[in-house]
Point group: C2
Chain length 245, copies 2
Amino acid sequence: MEKAKNVELTTEIDRQLNFYQKEDQVLLAVDCIIFGFDKTNLKILLIKRNFEPEKGKWSLIGGFLKKNENLDQAATRVLNTLTGLSDIYMEQVYTYSKVDRDPGQRTISVAYFALIDVDSHQFDGIQIDSARWFDLDEAPNLIFDHEEMIRKAIARLQRRAMTMPIGFELLPEKFTMRQLQNLYESILDKKLDKRNFINKINSLDVLVKLDEKDMTVSRKGAYLYVFDKEKYEKKVAEDGFSFKL
Amino acid sequence: MEKAKNVELTTEIDRQLNFYQKEDQVLLAVDCIIFGFDKTNLKILLIKRNFEPEKGKWSLIGGFLKKNENLDQAATRVLNTLTGLSDIYMEQVYTYSKVDRDPGQRTISVAYFALIDVDSHQFDGIQIDSARWFDLDEAPNLIFDHEEMIRKAIARLQRRAMTMPIGFELLPEKFTMRQLQNLYESILDKKLDKRNFINKINSLDVLVKLDEKDMTVSRKGAYLYVFDKEKYEKKVAEDGFSFKL
DNA sequence: GTTTTTAGTGTAAAAATAACACATAAAATT
DNA sequence: AATTTTATGTGTTATTTTTACACTAAAAAC
């Protein structure tokens, strides 16, 4: 149900529901929970605010929705402005609306999460000087309801990781099984059995094993894999796709 | 990240992200996907609009967020105004923001779903004359993006039904196993095996079998059950709660 | 050549899920 | 009084999925 404008209001309910005043308009913000992975740990990107209110405190990056864009576009724009990155997986999580969440002024904020492979993307954005990656468990206190946003985003990420090949967004194109397992262990925040993990992943049949090895971490070297997007798409179309670890 | 108001803007990024104009303010609506169950079928409550735009067409019920309330409160108020009901389970689903979703004017809408036991609640709300329950598969065409909202709400309901005792919100206090199975079959949109269903539900150990029987449907009568909320709360605190059908 | 480190591999037990059919109660009908 | 009708209620077995678990191999470092 949207708007009634200057139309005559016929009933009491119209008066209550469909009548609005100019002063009921609000500012809509987007805040981005940016997850990154650096081959070992799941991290989150935060910035130190150099503007009021709460100047000097850490917060999520965010910005305001403009009249000529939708929320997905706003989130993409905000991320791009800060990091210079585009073509990043983003997903809307939840809309926060407590009346006094921003003590300065009534603002409603829509939270988005983004997934970035830390090593492959060098930021060329502005403002990178005041931004920093934090391990999930050592993030500083944040302003407003941003910590609540992060908690919900983590829960969403955990669920998505089991039903979509979303994890691969966080990895470089070529990765080892160990890196993939590290990633899932970081996301789910629990240890996994190596053999069971590999068996499960292989049974999904969406990875291609390369002849190439990664020699950076072990003396023996570990085979590299790539995600086979086509195979995955086909699978989704046929059976769906979902697994459990 | 919220607002910058009249504060001096120090960097280019501040200018891009933290500067806003009065004209970037928008109207925020809530739209309610109201699910009901009448002992056999899952239904949805729609109203025929008697106001512009799209007067005469069917739509979800909705209204505008007011300055002094949060979104949960707005959704509760809208539902109460239309149906007279209070104390209803509601949950935020997703925020819709396509620029031209409402052709008349820029409006962003936050969708909520609500669960109601159709038989136990007699509506004393205003406007009930233009509202009607529809079976899920025979709902009429709806305005704007309301059909998309419903699709997403159904998906959410299906997920919730497996991790929360949310189904019981849709049933009268006392219900038969058959009614419970009908409900889950409606929500999941698939047939379930009677014996496996009963075994599974019993293994969850959150229902109390009464000595009383429901005689309305069978000559033999079927035992009535009630949901044991305390037992459930305890279980959640200990093990969590989640099942599969 | 000895040590160190990570990669890589298979099986068996346990648990969860899926498949499946008939007897019973009680009212309604004849 | 006997028969028909209708929905209830109940257990076991096979299949699938998940979990637990330990050793060898490769290569570099010393």
